[in-house]
Amino acid sequence: MVVDRRARIGLRVLALAYLAALLLVPVGVVFYRTFEHGLGTVWESITTPAAIHAFWLTVRIALIAVPLNTVLGVVTALALVRGRFRGKAVLHAVIDLPFAISPVVIGLALVLVYGRTGWFGGWLADHGVQVIFAVPGMVLATIFVCLPFVVREVEPVLREVGDEQEQAAATLGASRWQTFARVTLPAIRYGIAYGVVLSTARAIGEFGAVSVVSGKIAGQTDTLTLLVENRFQNFDVAGAYAASALLALIALLTLLVMTGLRPRRDQS
């Protein structure tokens, strides 16, 4: 569109001002508030036993949820693109649900199924397994919210590359596994990588669903995001800022990796 210079600059200033007021300045202020009393206080605040525990719990949950979702995501994407089965359209619609459902509702659903009075809760409790208000429930919640990422990234790539090369490999005598490992997997690797980055960020950052099923047992079921809330509610605002800054750093790192991966993903 041919827009005169003044109007174009006006629109630019308007757009950038909106982004600054909503995104950039608030995030900047958190960093400023975190570091205004020096690095030492920040370091102390993120190395308390509670913070270290929260950090490792977050890492542990992500290390279970992300690999599981990656494998399941690739299989699901393969089924959606290459497979022919009844209910495919339904599966297609269902995959996106975790994006559209409130995290709190996801948490509630897990409570209703695995909770004390839930469908499987009683049976599980009899066998000494506690899911809700314990780490297994938090892992389940994280898996749920991260479910669509890998599928949604891999699916379009699979569709794009087509199955001609796979068929060629098969006619040349490759087994199914060989075809997958040598033809399909290299073609979709950047799509998978992008999906993994997105699900890792979400797994680390999930709050609502995990909060519902965690039971908020201090020092036992605190993840980093729960620690932020916990500290804030207990008037430890500086501590909440420090933990937030750590999470914001992880988010910025995620953005960096995403930006680096995007051209390669779009190329393949």
């Binding site: 569109m1 041919v2 995290p103 509702v105 509630l108 209703l112 909770g115 950052g205 995001t225 809330e229």
Partner: protein, 216 residues
């Protein structure tokens, strides 16, 4: 009492989500336009930052808004406990949706049509309204709808900044959370079903929109 509280929470959620979707439709299109059609230093950086709300944990989004617009903030306003605070948190977390759905369409758009219109004497506003905008409408609508669905269920960014006063600043997800905490699972489930129905409806609408967009 709780029933009335639930209805109030749902009403507030719906109202704010519609408002946020409408603001996003305008602001998101503006940002997408500037990112695609304008040239300035740092454009690539701004483009990368658009995804920040997706990468940033929602609770951190709430904390950042509190740091700037909360009590003792450097700008001297305190929005905590107002509906503005909720709207702002929702705008923060839904920012990327419209931008990211409009951007690719705008990039693909054939500029010859616009140039032809200009050579026939159309002003830039007319060109935008008659040529650019009609091409963007499906993308704007589906982006706004995604943002709406997200806003309806949003919890983490809202919970710290909203004040959560029943009948005033309590949104549906916060209401559900409170009911679960006080072991009133049934009323939590009732409101959840309404939210679920809403998100399903929006998902279906987006799929229909997608078909409309492809059919053209």
């Amino acid at each position: 009492m709780t029933a009335r509280q639930a209805v109030a929470a749902l009403k507030l959620t719906l109202l704010l989500s519609i408002l946020v979707a409408a603001i996003n439709a305008v602001a998101g299109t503006l940002v997408a336009w500037v990112l695609v059609r304008d040239r300035f230093r740092g454009r690539a950086l701004v483009n990368a930052l658009i995804d920040l709300p997706f990468a940033l944990p929602t609770i951190v989004a709430g904390i950042t808004l509190l740091a700037l617009y909360g009590p003792n903030g450097p700008v001297g306003v305190n929005v905590v406990g107002t509906r503005w605070a909720i709207a702002m948190a929702l705008l923060f977390v839904t920012l990327p949706f419209v931008v990211r759905s409009v951007q690719p369409v705008l990039m693909e758009l054939d500029r010859e049509m616009e140039e032809a219109a200009v050579s026939l004497g159309a002003g830039s506003l007319t060109v935008f309204r008659r040529i650019v905008l009609p091409n963007l409408v499906p993308a704007i609508l589906s982006g706004a709808a995604l943002g709406f669905a997200r806003a309806v269920g949003e919890f983490g960014s809202v919970v710290l900044i909203a004040g959560n006063l029943p009948f005033k600043t309590e949104v549906a997800s916060v209401f559900i959370f409170g009911r679960i905490e006080s072991d009133a699972v049934t009323s939590a489930a009732a409101v959840s079903v309404v939210l679920l129905a809403l998100s399903l409806l929006v998902l279906l609408a987006i799929r229909a929109l997608g078909r409309l967009g492809h059919g053209r």
